[in-house]
Symmetry: C2
Subunit: 260 residues, 2 copies
């Protein structure tokens, strides 16, 4: 049995304002909840009896758990298709990469990536490509919004996320940190020298990288369409562009390691 008050709390966490105030967020479904339990402090679980029975050992001691019926789940859930379990977790503090990480790792920076699905895809990609830090402009979607949490498929918590104004952040970088971005007039990514550390900036769905952020980019890249020189009237979706860019950075590093 779940109280009306509890349902109200869950629904309030749909809004960034309440997530920020409470430092809490909601995750749903067996796969996402199982992944989030590994990285976040869980403070509440409401689930079908069958889920609770199957997951007793995965639930940390002291977490408030409630058995709920399917019709209660439907009322409490923020999803169109509720899935067995709803949990409330405590957000992690924003974590920017250390100076050491910047000197040795690839990081992603997102300039106003607004679509929750795209942000979720990019966090999954970051995890796949072993990228530990995603630095977001304050105008980028909130990683703790329900749509992003579900779209990350559990990559949240495996990747460090921080929100900070990008122009100022990038301006503070030393010259040793290459800052990459993709542009229509950049150097073909397949011809450009790529490093195994630095920051890759990805831009907004409609407008690309903002001029203020772009002015700090030191290595302008271009993803060529095929055949080369065909009119790039269509831009690539930002998730897809991130995938192609990260894959090429990692391919270079892998082939260097391969030749050692």
């Amino acid at each position: 049995m779940i109280s009306k008050q509890q349902i109200k709390t869950i629904h309030s966490l749909r809004l960034k304002k309440y997530r920020d105030q409470s430092e809490l967020f909601v995750g749903e479904g067996p796969k996402v909840v199982a992944e989030l339990l590994q990285s976040f402090e869980c403070i509440y679980i409401a689930a079908l009896q069958s889920w609770l029975d199957a997951n007793q050992t995965a639930i940390p001691a002291g977490v408030r758990c409630e058995t709920i019926l399917a019709e209660e789940l439907a009322k409490a859930s923020l999803l169109e298709a509720p899935q067995q379990v709803i949990a409330i977790f405590r957000k992690l503090p924003d974590t920017l990469p250390t100076a050491g990480a910047l000197q040795s790792e690839l990081c992603l920076a997102l300039d106003t990536v607004q679509d929750p699905g795209n942000l979720g895809t990019i966090l999954r990609l970051a995890r796949w490509f072993g990228i530990n830090h995603v630095i977001c402009s304050p105008t980028t979607a909130d990683v703790y919004s329900p749509k992003v949490v579900q779209a990350t498929m559990g990559a949240l918590g495996k990747v460090n996320v921080a929100y900070t104004p990008l122009p100022q952040y990038l301006a503070s970088m030393s010259d040793e940190i290459p800052i990459y971005g993709t542009f229509l007039d950049g150097t073909n990514i397949y011809d450009a020298p790529l490093t195994s550390h630095g920051i890759i900036v990805m831009g907004n769905e409609g407008n690309g990288i903002s001029p203020e952020t772009a002015s700090h980019i030191t290595r302008r890249l271009y993803i060529p369409p095929y055949p080369m020189g065909s009119p790039a009237i269509e831009s690539l979706n930002v998730g897809v562009a991130t995938a192609i860019t990260c894959a090429e950075f990692r391919r270079r590093t892998l082939s260097i390691e391969h030749c050692k």
Copy 2:
């Protein structure tokens, strides 16, 4: 003024059954309609006066056009956020690649790609990478469904699509046509020889490539996570996997052309 009957016709085209019976489909919004007008016979347009005024020269002679008000548009539209114009187009017949095309071009085959957004992303990618044919299993989402039409952003009509049972289709290929697919136990795509022609099979969101289709795949590839050997517990989204795979095929061809 739009009639109730016309609204009913538009809404009926949400269903594959009616699209198949009538051979018609719906496209909406200035960008998508402008692109579809280039490739498909248009039989009906309902739009705000402002759109009609701005697009008079783009509307082919003889197309039935109606001015509608914003509130009528909201009723007629299949989108959550209606956008100025709704049009009905005639579907194109399914077009499989010719024997000549198979011998000289890369084609994509989709084995039960069910999410309309993923299918839309893949059609956009096909256009970006100059891939002219996408061959779909009958269990793949319908390219003429409203969600796919909107997600393709107009790539529909620029790429030939056909639906056919993949196991039989692939079985009919001569040995000269390499058939690629990605698997967890395939050869690292960055080490594997890749040709500039052949068929690349992409699988279902949850289950990958079906065993019946997989048995016809002659070149098994693998997209490595980074660092190499890290547990690939997360699979890549099929749109993203298609992007990485096509980018690598095209990179090879581009670098060969580059060296000529």
